[in-house]
Subunit: 232 residues, 2 copies
DNA sequence: CGAGGAGTTGATTCCAATCAATTTCGGTGG
DNA sequence: CCACCGAAATTGATTGGAATCAACTCCTCG
């Protein structure tokens, strides 16, 4: 079961890899009999959560809109990641929308099961708290990022995130992401035009290589060094 | 005991007001025999937490530095708020520094007590999760804020935060904050000069009134309307 | 094969940072 | 009590980075 992967992902950590098999068994994971296609919405801002989702295949973008209508991608959820647990715990309506960025399949954990597990299993609770803490850490880090970094740094960071999240194609070494330039900009908090210009700059400087829409990171170290003072 | 205040604070919620008296008794609250003066550091970025702090009197700023050295204030903790619980749960060194913005007194909850309580008291755990969730919600909101808002909106938001956090003086209606203009800018993620100019604009437009360093919000509604699409 | 979305590029604008200089204020020691 | 010092606040001038506006090309997919 791929949940047990142990790779150390940069941005998110695989929640399930930290659970025991027994704990996973208690989850009553129920596979949703539906494959979400690119762009399909899993849940919408404003809706009330009645279950927790677990990404099983694919990558989901969690995004919200500023008042001007500009989109901001809050995070990317990959296999093993939870979706919508924050709203569930806070008992709030979703404040963000979740959409598939590629063919995606999900498990569902009924709300009751989830809360029962929290109540019965302190170990599970602790792990969930740790997950929340880590997400909070990332979000706080992103605040300072948005406030202080240049477009160039933001795009470099976004590309590194894509690299970590989607991985690379064995054949052509391109990042296996289906995100558009606009969406990359939405991660970085930057306009589409600036995103394109910056990606083009990186290309000219041989830090990356553009092959159509595909991006190949040719000099990972230089890309990383664009992101100063990176916090692991 | 002032922890039982019920005011609905805008940005943080008073953790202790949601606990039963019994739960509070279990906390082994230990008053720290020290009054922190304005500017004094409670804990430093990089240090390892060995206890949880509860603000009892005063307001504490939690802040970190971008690589250029620019400061960013992550949040303001007021009486009843917890300090350092994220790092404690994640078992990380502190990633931010906490300093008093005025005379501050703290309680301390030993690390062991804290974790024992989590393990023994599911209700407490749930409340802690809710707290984490709410902080996460705020942080995510701030990400989009930093990415998309103008200086004017950011300063308006910061002033509203000050108003909620410090309250106003009964005599002159000034916000009872001892923060400098620079610090207000550090909340908003804006330079000191831009902060001053914007505050001065609000003054000219009779949205606020400046009396020396003191700020009096004279037209709260207009100030609020500067912050479009405010999420409660 | 047409249409529309995605990508790209160039020109222009403008907001806010930066740089620079001056004033005000709060505290402190003589 | 006052003079003085350094920090904070303020104001002005300039710069620059990124958004915006606009036009065009290139896919791709129905």
């Amino acid at each position: 079961m791929q949940f047990f992967k142990t790779e150390n992902k940069n941005t998110h950590f695989c929640f399930f890899s930290s659970l025991t098999r027994e704990q996973i068994a208690q989850l009553n994971l129920e596979e949703i009999n539906k494959t979400f296609k690119k762009g399909e919405v899993i849940f919408n801002e404003g809706a009330y959560p009645n279950a927790l989702y677990v990404v099983y295949k694919g990558v989901v973008k969690v995004h919200m809109y500023g008042d001007s209508g500009k989109e901001q991608i809050i995070r990317l959820a990959q296999p093993g990641d939870l979706l919508g647990y924050r709203s569930l715990i806070s008992n709030d309506p979703y404040r963000a929308t979740a959409s598939a960025t590629e063919e995606t399949r999900l498990f569902k954990i009924p709300k009751d099961t989830f809360f029962n597990l929290i109540k019965q299993n302190t170990d599970f609770s602790l792990k969930l708290m740790k997950l929340l803490s880590d997400d909070l850490k990332n979000a706080e880090r992103k605040v300072i990022y948005m406030a202080q970094k240049s477009v160039r740094e933001k795009i470099a960071e976004a590309l590194l995130l894509l690299n970590d999240t989607f991985g690379i194609d064995e054949n052509n070494f391109a990042i296996k992401s289906k995100l558009t330039r606009k969406e990359i900009g939405d991660i970085a908090g930057v306009t589409t035009e600036s995103t394109i210009r910056t990606i083009s700059d990186f290309n000219k400087e041989n830090i990356i290589n553009i092959d159509g829409k595909k991006i190949i990171i040719t000099d990972l170290n230089r890309l990383k060094s664009e992101v100063k003072n990176k916090i692991a």
